[in-house]
Subunit: 313 residues, 2 copies
């Protein structure tokens, strides 16, 4: 599970930061790749990665501003051109379907795969699959904007086969019962508690990817206890009034939220082109004074999402 | 007058060639810049140039395939973001207006300038301004596609004031008449022919920019006598059947056309990603055997359009 950033800039592409897009790579977990937002030039950025549009299974759009969607028609076309034939699901605000369909119709693009559009109306769980949930909630931007919380389901502990063998418990259907944590009586009369033969369960990871937003309670709701939160930082310290009036956030607001929401790591993105590399570093320094594990991401940053928490079986 | 290429690839962006876009810089002539096609990522390519979207006055779209238009909504937004307030005219096939307007509406983009759309229906002169004409004609592609011939109006010869003074012809309204080529009788009785006092006229230049097309008579019509023809070369030598069936051209077809149409220089573009740099060089070599002044252009090539022809006054 890794995040790969293709665009970390705000509003318009700059020389050093392209407009918004980040991939959540779930190749080890479910052999899938999910893309969050798709500003113009995302597919060109992807040419510098091992990722191909063909590999993307789901696209989540936070909102319909151009810097978050204008790369979508081209990426969808290239996915087809590369022979992608797996169906694709696109989640996003009402209007995303029209935009994509009209772009493809005008350009007479015939795709080699089917797209299913899920236009969001209600907050809550929008994906429930064997390994992951996704929860969506509305943020506060100038136009309708959604944040996404990706929740990996917990990995149950493994059955400790070596220990079973050492204790001379013969293999058979009894192993299945023990794995379920049942208490079992063996033919030799021993009573065995499955719980003693199950390793540590691994809690699933949580990655929260927020769209453009000003400070609003749903940010906390989506971010609570997350391993990683990707948060916009269009403005810097001392600019919270400005941020509020433009429906954006500051680095400080993001850091405070991370601190009070048991977040493990905060990634700041959507960095305005008016910030030089040095100033972006300052954004990070200021935020770190409040929440140490903060990073201002750059295009092509590749961030691993480690397992942080173990629960005793 | 220069051509600046932002994208010279075919269909999908590759690592070395972005999708179609070329600017005709008319800064010395009329302080304008015209853009021909606008594939995704054109504005990002432009970040490496001295050209800003703000400076573009007219955009000519050859056809509505995605690799020629998907960069338009983003470029138009950035033009506004940069404070562009001069009106913009977009020429192209029917449908271009819908695509742009819906993209801007869905993304709630409010531009700081007005766009005038000219959707082409009839072949002929579509621009007639003090310094330039533009002629448009239909090509043969899978969808409606147009080629453009930009014709600089002739520069009349300058009045040779030094020669007039040497011949002791006194300044005054008579100079205006002589400049018009009239025959004038001076107060001292001499009869003076204006034609003897006018320098060489400079014929205007002609630049032809064709869209995707298979071989069709209108190519010759648009290219006849041009100083530069920008011609697609999606296929190579020996592939003319393939090219025809995909509604594209080969380098050889382009070179033959240039040879028999009194073209001064041929620029081949729309080069498929299946051609390596070495193979692109071969495309050029093959074409040069037929028409020597051929060049396969690359992204960021900057090509001057020199005055080639002089006419005696
Ligand atoms: Zn944005
Ligand atoms: Zn094309």
């Amino acid at each position: 599970m890794q995040l790969e950033f293709f665009g970390t800039g705000a509003g318009v592409p700059g020389k050093f930061r392209n407009v918004s897009s980040v991939a959540l790579r779930l190749l080890d977990e479910s052999n899938e790749v999910w893309l969050f937002d798709c500003g113009e030039g995302t597919q060109q950025q992807m040419l510098r990665s091992t990722l191909k549009p063909r590999k993307i299974d789901k696209i989540f759009i936070t909102h319909l501003h151009g810097d978050h969607i204008f790369g979508l028609p081209g990426l969808l076309s290239s996915r087809s051109f590369q022979g992608g034939d797996e169906p694709l699901v696109i989640y996003g605000p009402k209007g995303i379907k029209d935009f994509v369909q009209i772009s493809l119709r005008v350009s007479q693009t015939k795709l080699s795969y089917k797209i299913k559009f899920i236009e969001l109306t209600e907050e809550g769980i929008i994906v429930d699959e064997p390994k992951f949930y996704v929860m969506a909630a509305k943020l506060q931007h100038k136009i309708e904007c959604w944040g996404y919380r990706v929740i990996e389901k917990d990995h149950p502990g493994e059955l400790m086969v070596d220990k079973l063998r050492a204790d001379e418990i013969p293999a058979g259907p009894v192993y299945g019962k023990l794995k379920n944590g049942q208490v079992v009586t063996l033919p030799d009369g021993r009573t065995i508690d499955g719980k003693n033969y199950i390793g540590k369960a691994q809690m699933g990871r949580i990655v929260t990817i927020l769209g453009d937003t000003r400070n609003t309670p749903n940010i906390k709701k989506l971010s609570q206890g997350a391993d990683i939160v990707v948060h916009e930082s269009t403005f810097g310290k001392g600019e919270s009034k400005l941020a509020r009036s433009y429906y954006h956030s500051t680095n400080i607001e993001a850091a405070k939220m991370a601190k009070t929401s048991s977040v493990s790591r905060l990634l700041l993105t959507h960095i305005s082109a008016r910030y030089t590399a040095k100033m972006a570093r300052e954004l990070q320094d200021q935020a770190q004074e409040i929440f140490a594990n903060t990073k201002v991401v750059k295009d092509f940053d590749f961030i691993d999402v480690p397992f942080n928490k173990h629960e005793e079986a």
